[in-house]
Amino acid sequence: MIPVQFDYLAPASVEEALSALGQHGDDAKILAGGQSLLPVLRMRLNAPEVVIDLGGIASLRGIRDDGDAIVIGAMTTHHDVRDHALVKEHALLLSKAAAEVADSQIRHRGTFGGALAHADPAGDLGAPALALGAQFVIAGAGGTRTVEASDFFVDLFETAIGEDEILTEVRIPKHTGWGAHYEKFVRVAHQWPIVAIAATVKGSIDEARVGLTNMGSTPLRATATEQALTGATATEDGVRAAAELAAEGTNPPSDLNGAADYRQHLARVLTGRAVLKAAGV
């Protein structure tokens, strides 16, 4: 299908991009990897007058070590996140989740920051970012600010990024040596997850972080499960008992792939499996 006509801007720097955004305001949409935006435009569900493509801004790409954190540029592709040595060493959960995003073509186009900024609750990266305590670096006309993951996801397709701001990079506190597993439940391989569980654990088990995908209007943490797991021994029975708490406080959608109560059941079962795999049991 053919989108409504729009103007296309390709700024060379974050400053230029911010300036364009300031000028066009809510008539503009930011284009990152385009894997969500272009279908929306082509189906005419949105018709921005201006599309600002961040693809030409080299500083937004790449992954670097920053002491107690690794920093992932917003325009880094899922493919690069998946394969990067720093990610594998310090944030294994992200590597595992990035490997499950859609299909190979999309992983080579779609970007880490673009997916997080899009904030689809069925997206694969929100729950792991939340579980790992990611910090979102957001640039605006007045400089940059950093938002904690717990404050970043506001609602369905809504984040803390202001209309005149751009997500530039995401800091992931190092979880060196933590085991991780991303358990994605789908009917066909290329589908959005019906439910997915992002689990990462230190030792077996000193600490646990569990993120839930598509169990509410934003990514969620299974905090009751996390607390029950802390200091527990990673036995199958123990983990499954803790996982029984995983659906507490969730409000999942009901659609063709499953009603809310079924998703909550899945969250409990899959949380157990994800944690056990993360713990290497």
Partner: protein, 820 residues
């Protein structure tokens, strides 16, 4: 000229790579949407968002003022020149058939129906302007779902007074092909086994890869239509019949067409609108649908509720089968819409010797996209019902599902066999196909594993599904189609042109859209005529070149079109023989034809057929009593359908905690008679299997209560990819049952995989959890449905004594998908 003596071994049976593939795979070919004509205009359709609404007004002024818009037309702007969309198969004389305008002026009867068309200089400008067309609707109550339609409380077409279109009945007692089914049911109720089930065939979307596209060029003496269609000849006939343009003034071209699966066996509103607009404006026009439009408005498939009563004695010998179908036609009766479920009438008895049989098909109209053929068309539905319920019978009797089938099937020495539905099956060997499939599958080992998992109470249970299918294919025969009130015949036409350079052009009325006709037909001609494969060119899909034909559907191209080709080739050889005798100064009786060469018996004298083609072209020396040509043509109408069959075995793992299902192994042993090209057959089987498996597990077109298609994109309409399937174990019987009603001995294979696989998969899923009290799971078997079935308990497991009917509200399979 190529030396024919060097011709390699027989072409038939050789796994030649397809001639077509290089251009198709690289995209270096001509699809309809690639065609650009000078001055061509582009169309965009304005579609009703409501399932049922009267059209109060259509304001086109803003759209007309949009840049580069040439015209904006709504239904009231057209007269008779718009024509009508036809139903070529009224299944009963009293069928209620709503009038079907390509663009109704007064009322839209399904969401997606076209109410106006915008014509602009570019596709983008047309699309932009289409959003400016202001249509005022008065929304009417819509009827969605078969059960709602049957109540006749809300009418899809108020002027018809009912939603019930036609009731088609076959009864073996009345037809004299068997005894009375009601008597068998009564006996079984008191002294046998009675199984009553309701199965649902969900609505499916053909989802061909290439969206529909049409280009019409009205300039010149003929009006030319290019269309991504399976049926250029039927399309030409229907255009002539409904728009008043003589057939001789119409040329229809189906260039390379990217899949159909029955979904392009249609004469569409979009084609008729493009035709009318081009004629109105005297300009070439193009319309290519978007994927969203394709999912919403190209015809859908299946959509039936099947109410089944199977009577048997206590040993599981079936004594009668009663079938009542309610079939959703959608808002209109499409070209063969009503006939599709009726095709199933002859297949519910499948491979079995049932003494009595009754089939009823009630078609209903609803405010949804019209339905029509989808790969298998009527036969998958029938095969699903019988193969599912035979598993239920096996469970009741307490024997292996293969054992219950063997007790009932036609034994190989009993062929030819006239069935209770009145068809004569010429050949088949169900024992051989089953034995081979069992062996290749490792049936006994998997049954042992299943037992072990059950005993262990494993989280992952294993199920084995059986489907011993047959089908009637090669549609044709014309007399049979006539007896069913189908509006056309089923013959096919072919011609063979022997070119001066020794090359051979063959022209077929079959119209390929991915089947590989160019390759398979070349193999047949190469063998039959004795010329090199490379010297044969296959022409098709253009009514000016292939002036006569009935196109491609119903697994008919090879078994009907291929046979027509054989007959034409034989005529060429006859003519050539006369010329050869003349040139060799020999008697025709002394000539032998072998390897493309006539030789005089007992001498080294001879002449190649390609030399004879040159001689006929030069025409310097030929007999007085013949024309200087060895070209020939033939029209072939088979005397019977043909009946491929096979045994399909599927092993599914079911995660009882989540309901997730995973295919473990799939073996099919198809007996399809002579195989022309094993590679093409493998492709047809693989693709067919995936499409049938997809019905079992993934695909479902869902409308909400308001009639909006919820599964309106591939996000919600789940098509599998290679990542979701496994490597299939495809085998064939060692000694195939050669078809006796055509000379090649072939049987159709295009639909076999789709027909067979759906019940094999569902049987396997049910088998995995039957011990947990599950006797049915509605398709598609989503993890949620499987999980809920496991947790629904065992309250609905019938016993031979109680034989509780399942026909009550709230039972499994009552959910029509609406309102989810």
């Amino acid at each position: 000229m190529t030396a024919t003596q060097d011709r390699p071994a027989a072409e038939i049976g050789k796994d030649r790579r397809r001639k077509e593939d290089q251009r198709l795979i690289t995209g270096r070919t001509r699809w309809t949407d690639n065609i650009t004509l000078p001055g061509m205009l582009h169309l965009a359709m304005v579609r009703s968002p409501f399932a049922h609404a009267t059209i109060t007004s259509v304001d086109v002024e803003a759209a007309k003022a949009s840049p580069n818009v040439v015209a904006v037309l709504s239904g009231k702007d057209f007269g008779d020149e718009l024509g009508v969309c036809i139903n070529a198969w009224p299944i009963t004389p009293d069928q209620k058939t709503p009038g079907h305008s390509p663009m109704p002026a007064d009322r839209a009867a399904f969401a997606g129906e076209i109410v106006a068309v915008v014509v602009a200089r570019s596709a983008a400008e047309a699309r932009d302007a289409a959003e400016l067309v202001d249509v005022e609707y008065d929304e009417q109550p819509a009827v969605i779902g078969i059960k709602n339609a049957l109540r006749d409380e809300v009418l899809a077409h108020p002027d018809l007074g009912t939603n019930k279109s036609a009731l088609w009945v076959f009864d073996s007692a009345e037809a004299g092909t068997g005894s009375d089914v009601e008597a068998a049911i009564e006996t079984a109720r008191t002294d046998g086994i009675l199984i009553e089930r309701e199965y649902r065939q969900q609505r499916l979307i053909p989802a061909f890869m290439e969206p529909r596209s049409v280009v019409v060029d009205p300039t010149g003496e003929q009006i030319t239509m290019w269309s991504a269609t399976q049926i250029p000849h039927i399309l030409r006939f229907a255009l002539a019949a409904t728009t008043g343009v003589p057939e001789s003034k119409i040329r229809v071209i189906a260039p390379d067409v990217g899949g159909g699966f029955g979904g392009k066996l249609q004469t569409t509103p979009e084609e008729w609108i493009a035709w009318a607009v081009a004629r109105r404006l005297s300009k070439p026009v193009k319309y290519t649908e978007t994927r969203s439009e394709s999912l919403m408005a190209a015809h859908h498939g299946r959509d039936q509720v099947q109410t089944l009563t199977l009577a048997a004695d206590k040993e599981g010998n079936v004594t009668g089968f009663k079938v009542h179908l309610d079939a959703d036609l959608g808002a209109y009766i499409a070209v063969v819409g009503g006939g599709v479920p009726v095709l199933g009438a002859f297949m519910f008895n499948a491979i079995y010797k049932f003494p009595s049989y009754r089939f009823e098909c009630q078609t209903v109209l609803t405010n949804t996209t019209f339905t029509d053929a989808y790969r298998g068309a009527g036969r998958p539905e029938a095969t699903y019902a019988i193969e599912r319920i035979m598993d239920e019978l096996a469970a009741e009797v307490g024997v292996d599902p293969l054992e219950i089938r063997e007790r009932n099937w036609i034994k190989h020495e009993e062929f030819p066999f006239t069935t209770v539905a009145g068809l004569e099956y010429d050949t088949g060997n169900y024992e051989a196909a089953t034995a081979k499939a069992k062996e290749s599958f490792g049936y006994d080992a998997l049954r042992a594993e299943q037992k072990e998992r059950r005993e262990r109470g494993d989280r992952v249970q294993l199920g084995i599904g059986v489907s011993t299918f047959t089908e009637m294919c090669g549609l044709a025969p014309s007399r049979v189609l006539g007896s069913l009130d189908y509006g056309a015949g089923g013959w096919e036409h072919a011609s063979v042109r022997m070119l001066a350079t020794g090359k051979v052009e063959i022209v077929t009325g079959a119209s390929a859209h991915g089947q590989g006709h160019e390759t398979a037909f070349s193999q047949i001609v190469a063998d039959r005529l004795g010329v090199p494969f490379e010297d044969v060119e296959v022409l098709h899909g253009d009514t000016q070149i292939a002036h006569k034909g009935l196109d491609t559907y119903g697994s008919r191209s090879l078994v009907v079109g291929g046979e027509a080709l054989v007959k034409a080739v034989d005529k060429v050889i006859d003519k050539a023989k006369h010329l050869a005798a003349h040139l060799l100064e020999a008697s025709e009786d002394d000539l032998e034809y072998k390897g493309g060469r006539f030789t005089v018996a007992g001498t080294d004298q001879g002449v190649a057929i390609q030399e004879l083609a040159t001689a006929a072209f030069a025409a310097h020396n030929y007999p007085e009593d013949m024309e200087p040509s060895i070209d020939a043509e033939a029209t072939y109408d088979p005397v019977n359908f043909n009946y491929p069959h096979g045994t399909h075995l599927c092993a599914m793992e079911v995660d009882t905690e989540t309901g997730a299902v995973k295919m473990r192994k799939y073996t099919c042993c198809d007996d399809i008679g002579t195989i022309i090209n094993p590679l093409i057959v493998a492709g047809q089987v693989h693709g067919g299997l995936v499409q049938g498996i997809a019905q079992a597990l993934w695909e479902e077109a869902v409308h909400d209560e308001a009639g909006t298609l919820v599964s309106g994109s591939f996000v919600d309409y789940l098509l599998p990819t290679s990542a979701d399937t496994i490597s299939f174990d495809v085998v064939h019987t060692d000694d195939p049952s050669i078809c006796t009603t055509n000379t090649l001995g072939t049987k159709g294979v295009g639909e076999a995989g789709t027909i067979a696989s759906t019940p094999a998969v569902v049987n396997a899923v049910v088998d995995a959890v039957r011990h947990l009290g599950v006797s049915d799971i509605q398709m598609p078997c989503t993890p949620e449905r499987v999980w809920r079935a496991i947790h629904a308990g065992d309250s609905d497991a019938p016993t031979p004594e109680t034989a509780m009917p399942h026909f009550s509200e709230g039972a499994l399979n009552q959910d029509e998908g609406a309102g989810q």
